[in-house]
């Protein structure tokens, strides 16, 4: 789930998911939506691999890597298939489409305020992972 939260100058998104994979995937979608891509029909795939010291840093580095590819190759990704997703390493195949242009610029995904939160206790219902991300736009 992707929610927009107020930020004076930039964009703040709150992402939540039933699993870490879903959290990473929705964070990817949220990031790409901010670019407001004018999509072409041609589909694309791109594999990325990122390592980091912890899970939150891994998510931000993963999103920045995807953002770099989006800018360089003019592509927007709406899905990811994870072949590896541990606390410190992610290997994923990004799926999306070519973009004729982007409506907005996203300079970067920041570490500011980002902290992947632990699942709620089982008795609270489905495990929900969440993170707040601030984007520089």
């Amino acid at each position: 789930m992707i929610e927009v939260v107020e930020h004076t100058a930039d964009i703040r998104l709150r992402i939540s998911g039933a699993s870490i994979e879903e959290l990473f995937r929705d964070a990817l979608r949220g990031t790409m939506q901010l670019l407001r891509p004018d999509l072409d029909e041609r589909s694309v795939q791109r594999e990325i691999a990122v390592e980091a010291a912890d899970r939150t840093t891994l998510l931000i580095d993963f999103l920045n890597e995807a953002l770099s590819h989006a800018h360089v190759h003019r592509e927007a990704y709406d899905d990811a298939v994870f072949t590896t997703l541990t606390e410190t390493r992610v290997v994923a195949q990004l799926h999306g489409r070519e973009a004729r242009a982007f409506g907005d610029d996203v300079k970067a995904v920041t570490y500011h305020e980002a902290e992947i939160r632990q699942p709620r206790p089982a008795e609270a219902g489905p495990h929900i992972w969440s993170v707040t991300i601030v984007y520089d736009i």
Binding site: T8, S68, A101, D104, T110, E113
Partner: protein, 462 residues
């Protein structure tokens, strides 16, 4: 941060004592009236400023200018001077848009004389200067040519035919930061920048045609070739995707290396490395290269505007450089406390006698100031950089109607070309602080004196 945590020093200066938080190494100071402060404490600007005051090696004060607002890591409008031997360099203290800055050109036209040409001219400038967002611009540089830009900055652009040698005299650091190393810039950053020279980007970046609406200091204005009703052009942009990627690359690297230097910080976005360390030096060299890309970008944009102006006005279409200054950069400078690395994140260098360019929002005003001795004594030679946002982009989109805004600007005599209605409303005047009040503070504090007030008549936004 509660307002009660701040001590009043002057009507325009407040201090957060070092004792406020145990990890603060220096006090934090904010330039604001009490009314402004009431607004500033509503977001996290001052908490972020206190975080800056914890950086290893910080000297004097962490400083916030009156246009301060919440950012990420550093607040926007923040300044920090750090010791070269014991201090750190933090990419978050410069921001992702390395050498975002402002350039001012002056024309030979007056506003009333050029009024009939204005719509055509705004359209011509918009055609010459693409936003480049997700499309790129007309230039595509191979790695060799891009590296020449990263090393040479505006001088390389002039060598390539985009301007005149005399332009360089009126650019901060003559448009080329020393120590730039293209080899420190990643392949990703090269790729992101390869087709972005000569583009303004989106967000709050713009090209604006202004008239000099008021002159406060006739002598200083004459020195800069400014007079009442003269038409001038403001360019506000930076290092585009290349700079964004340099910051991303080095933040990632420093997040991973801080533990080796025993550095702990309250916000990962303040990730840093000792200035003398390999990571610190490589970032400094890469940042300088990205800053040079930004100087070259504003030089190539200038050439496009000059083409449009020449096309419209022929022999009377010369545009002369007034000044070009950065507001997102770190530089080694000598101040009263010795030689330090000054981080400016949304703060303009304001050395004594130096022009200081303060862009406002598209419907209000911008200012030309001149640095004063107070800047050297109080703020490490720095001033404010703009009006400063008060309304989120989300709220602006909900509350402001694009059609009404266009009509309002038109009624105010402002011709607008914007890439999107969304981009237009997000930058509406009411999304910003009162720039007159912001500039009054730095003037009263002796940081920079008012020279001229500029009012927009044409706006080109990405």
């Amino acid at each position: 941060m509660q307002k009660s945590a701040l001590h009043k020093i002057h009507d325009w200066l407040w201090e957060i004592p070092k004792s406020t938080r145990s990890d603060m190494r220096v006090p934090a100071r904010v330039y604001a009236t009490e009314e402004m402060l009431d607004a500033i404490v509503r977001d996290r600007s001052l908490d972020q400023l206190v975080n800056v005051a914890t950086l290893p090696g910080i000297r004097g004060w962490a400083v916030a200018m009156p246009d301060v607002h919440e950012g990420y890591g550093f607040p926007i409008g923040g300044i920090a001077a750090v010791d070269l031997d014991e201090g750190v360099i933090s990419p978050g203290g410069i921001g992702y848009d390395i050498n975002c800055g402002v350039r001012l050109l002056r024309s030979h036209q007056t506003a009333s004389a050029m009024a009939p040409s204005l719509p055509t001219l705004v359209h011509s400038v918009a055609r010459e200067i693409p936003s480049g967002v997700g499309r790129g611009g007309p230039l595509r540089l191979n790695k060799h040519d891009l590296d020449l830009v990263l090393g040479g900055g505006a001088a390389r652009a002039v060598e390539s035919g985009y301007g005149e040698e005399g332009d360089l005299e009126r650019i901060e650091s003559r448009g080329t930061l020393e120590g730039a190393d293209p080899a420190a810039v990643s392949d990703h950053a090269h790729d992101r920048g390869s087709d972005q020279l000569g583009t303004i980007g989106s967000g709050n970046h713009f090209v604006e045609i202004d008239r000099v609406a008021m002159v406060f200091d006739t002598v200083a204005a004459q020195q800069l070739g400014l007079e009442q009703e003269r038409v001038v052009i403001l360019i506000h942009t930076g290092s585009r995707g290349l700079g964004h990627q340099v910051a991303t690359d080095f933040l990632k690297r420093m997040v991973g290396s801080m533990h080796r230097y025993g550095i702990t910080i309250p916000d990962r976005e303040l990730a840093c490395a000792p200035f003398r360390s390999p990571e610190g030096q490589q970032y400094f060299h890469a940042m300088a290269a990205a800053a040079n890309f930004a100087f070259a970008n504003r030089q190539v944009i200038t050439a496009g505007i000059r083409r449009a102006w020449k096309h419209e006005f022929g022999a009377d279409g010369d545009l002369e450089m007034v000044y070009d200054v950065a507001h997102n950069v770190a530089k080694v400078e000598r101040h009263e406390i010795g030689e330090v690395l000054v981080h400016r994140k949304g703060a303009t260098r304001a050395f004594l006698g130096q022009p200081v360019l303060i862009p406002g929002s598209m419907g209000t005003a911008s200012y030309v100031l001149m640095g004063q001795s107070g800047a050297m004594e109080q703020s490490f030679g720095s001033s404010c950089h703009g009006a400063g946002r008060v309304m989120s982009r989300t709220r602006a989109r909900h509350e402001i109607d694009a059609t009404e805004l266009r009509a309002r600007l038109k009624n105010g005599g402002i011709v607008v070309e914007a890439g999107s209605a969304k981009g237009l409303v997000e930058e509406a005047p009411e999304a910003y602080k009162d720039i007159d009040a912001v500039v009054d503070i730095v003037d009263r504090a002796g940081i920079a004196k008012k020279v001229a007030r500029l009012v927009p008549i044409g706006v080109i936004k990405g």
